[in-house]
Amino acid sequence: MANIPSDLKYAKTHEWVRVSGDVATVGITDHAQHELTDVVFVELPDVGRQIKAGESCAVVESVKTANDIYSPVSGQITEVNPAVVANPALVNTEPYAGGWFYKIKLSQPAELNALLGPEQYQAQIGGA
C-alpha cells in the first residue's frame, strides 16, 4: 500500500506539495517512486526560475526510463535539494523527506485548491 501523508496536497501527475506560509515544497509520491524503482539521476530547475503550474521543470531518471516532473504550482524557485542530486536513491527511500526536489514561492496560492487531497489521490491510484 502506497504511503499518502494526510498533511500534503497531490497532483494527478504524482507530485506532492507541502505548504508552509507562501512557500511550497515539491517532490514525487511513494506510489510514483515505487513505479519508477531505482532512481539513478535527478535534474532540478535553477534557483530563481519562474515556473507556471503544469510546466515541466525537473526530470527523474530510473534505470529504464526518463520522466518529466510537472510543477503543481506557479511561482519562483527559491531552493533546490542538493542531497537528492548527489544521492538520487533518496527519491526511493524518502520520497516525502530527504527526497524532496525544490521549494517554490507561490505566485498563485489559489492553485492549491485545484490539487487533490489525500483521499482523492488514493482514489486515483487505486488500491496500489
Binding site: D38, V40, F41, E43, V59, E61, V63, K64, A66
Partner: protein, 379 residues
C-alpha cells in the same frame, strides 16, 4: 503476449511484468540494482524460457551448420558449445546464438526469443537449398522447452545439491560443477532428462538449464530454495540488461541486426574464415582484411549525468565537433555507479581513450571510449 511456464512463479514473487519481444516477462522483482548486485556478489536466477531451442541432427548436420553459421562446428566435441552468428549473404546478422554439440550428430541451438520466427524460417530456407538436406533433421522445440539461468560466484555452493550426478550424456562429469566453461551435459531429473551448460550472459560464473516445459517450474523452485541461504535472488530482464551491458555482450536489435556484420560488432573472433564457404563469407573476409567502415565502441561517462540510452547521439569533441554515431545500448552501471554504453562510430574514431560527448536530452555530456569489457571483476 506469450507467457513462459514460469509465469505463475513470477506472479508469486511479485515480479513487475512487461512486454519483451512478444513475451510477458518480469523486468524486476524488487529493484534492478539489487538484482544486478546480487548476481555480481552472490547469485541470481533468471527465467530464459522465452528463448528458442532448435535441434539439428543427422549425418549432414555439421556441414549444414558450418554453411549457415559463422563459427566452426567441427571444433565442437560432444558436450561442447560455442558462441556463433547466423548471417545473410551481405554478412548482416540474422541472429547471434549458442550452438552445442550434444552427441556425434546432434546439435542444440539456443536462439533469441525475438528471432525465433525469423531464425526458423531462415534455417528451413537454407536447408531446402542444402545439397545434403535429406541427411539433416531440423526441429523447433521452443514451445515444449523451458530454460533458466543461475549466475553468480556463489552458485557453485548450492548447484550440485539440486541435480543428481553423474551426467548421462554430453560431457561426462560426476557433478554439475565439474563442467568447464562452455561444456554441456545431460542429467536425469525425476523421470525426465535435462541439459545443463556452464554458460551465461552476465560475465559471472554460472549455468543454464534447458528442460521440458512441464518441469521447469519445479527446477526453478528447487534452485530458489537451495540458493536463498547463499544469497540467491530472482532476477529480471532489467538486471539481465545492465549485467550484459557492463561486460559488453551484444543484444540482438541493439549491437546486432541484419544490416550490421560481426566484424563491425567486434565479434570477428567467432567468424571462422578458414572452414570453407558459409553465408556472408565473402563480405566478412573483405571486412576482416580491410577493416570495417564502422565499429562498435564502449564508453563511460566521465561526469555525473543522466544515463546514456539507445539512440542518443555520439559527438566528437574539439574544433569541428560533429555527430559521429549513435548509442545502441546504455544504462547507469550498478557496479560502477556511472553511465556506460556502446555505440557505432566511424572506424577512424574508434580508439580507446578518445574523448566523446553523448547528447542527453539536448545537452552534450562528456564521456570517454574505453576497452571492452567496461566492467572487469577485481582479481
Amino acid at each position: 503476449m506469450q507467457r513462459t511456464p514460469l509465469y505463475a512463479a513470477h506472479q508469486k514473487l511479485g515480479g513487475k511484468l512487461i512486454e519483451f519481444g512478444g513475451w510477458e516477462m518480469p523486468v524486476q522483482y524488487t529493484s534492478i540494482t539489487d538484482e544486478h548486485l546480487a548476481v555480481r556478489q552472490a547469485a541470481g536466477l533468471f527465467d530464459i524460457s522465452h528463448m528458442g531451442e532448435v535441434l539439428v541432427s543427422g549425418p549432414g548436420a555439421e556441414g549444414f551448420l558450418n554453411r549457415t553459421l559463422t563459427n566452426d562446428a567441427r571444433k565442437l566435441a560432444p558436450g561442447q558449445g560455442q558462441y556463433t552468428l547466423m548471417c545473410n549473404e551481405r554478412g548482416g546478422v540474422i541472429d547471434d546464438l549458442y550452438a552445442y554439440r550434444l552427441a556425434g550428430q546432434e546439435y542444440l541451438l539456443i536462439i533469441n526469443a525475438s528471432r525465433i520466427g525469423d531464425d526458423v524460417a531462415w534455417l528451413e530456407k537454407q536447408l531446402a537449398a542444402f545439397p545434403r538436406r535429406s541427411e539433416v533433421k531440423l526441429e523447433n522445440t521452443s514451445d515444449a522447452t523451458g530454460a533458466l539461468a543461475v549466475q553468480g560466484p556463489r552458485v557453485v555452493e548450492f548447484i550440485d545439491g539440486c541435480f543428481q550426478g553423474p551426467s548421462t550424456g554430453g560431457t561426462i562429469v560426476a557433478q554439475v560443477s565439474d563442467l568447464k566453461k562452455n561444456q554441456i551435459a545431460r542429467f536425469g531429473y525425476g523421470g525426465d532428462t535435462i541439459w545443463i551448460s556452464r554458460t551465461g550472459y552476465t560475465g559471472e560464473d554460472g549455468f543454464e538449464v534447458v528442460a521440458p516445459a512441464g518441469i521447469i517450474e519445479a527446477i526453478w523452485n528447487q534452485l530458489l530454495s537451495a540458493g536463498q541461504p547463499h544469497g540467491l535472488k530472482p532476477a529480471g530482464l532489467g538486471a539481465r540488461d545492465t549485467l550484459r551491458t557492463e561486460v559488453c555482450y551484444p543484444l540482438y536489435g541493439h549491437e546486432l541486426d541484419e544490416n550490421t556484420t560481426p566484424i563491425e560488432a567486434g565479434v570477428g573472433f567467432f567468424v571462422a574464415l578458414d572452414k570453407g564457404d558459409f553465408n556472408g563469407r565473402s563480405v566478412l573476409a573483405e571486412q576482416k582484411a580491410k577493416g570495417p567502415a564502422k565499429k562498435l565502441v564502449a564508453f563511460k561517462m566521465t561526469d555525473r549525468s543522466a544515463p546514456p540510452r539507445p539512440h542518443y547521439a555520439i559527438w566528437s569533441t574539439g574544433p569541428g565537433a560533429a555527430k559521429i554515431g549513435e548509442v545502441v545500448s546504455g544504462t547507469q552501471s550498478p557496479s560502477l555507479g556511472i553511465g556506460i554504453g556502446m555505440g557505432y562510430v566511424p572506424a577512424a574514431f574508434a580508439k580507446t581513450n578518445t574523448p566523446i560527448e553523448i547528447e542527453i536530452r539536448g545537452k552534450r555530456a562528456p564521456a570517454i571510449l574505453v576497452p571492452k569489457p567496461i566492467y572487469r571483476k577485481p582479481d
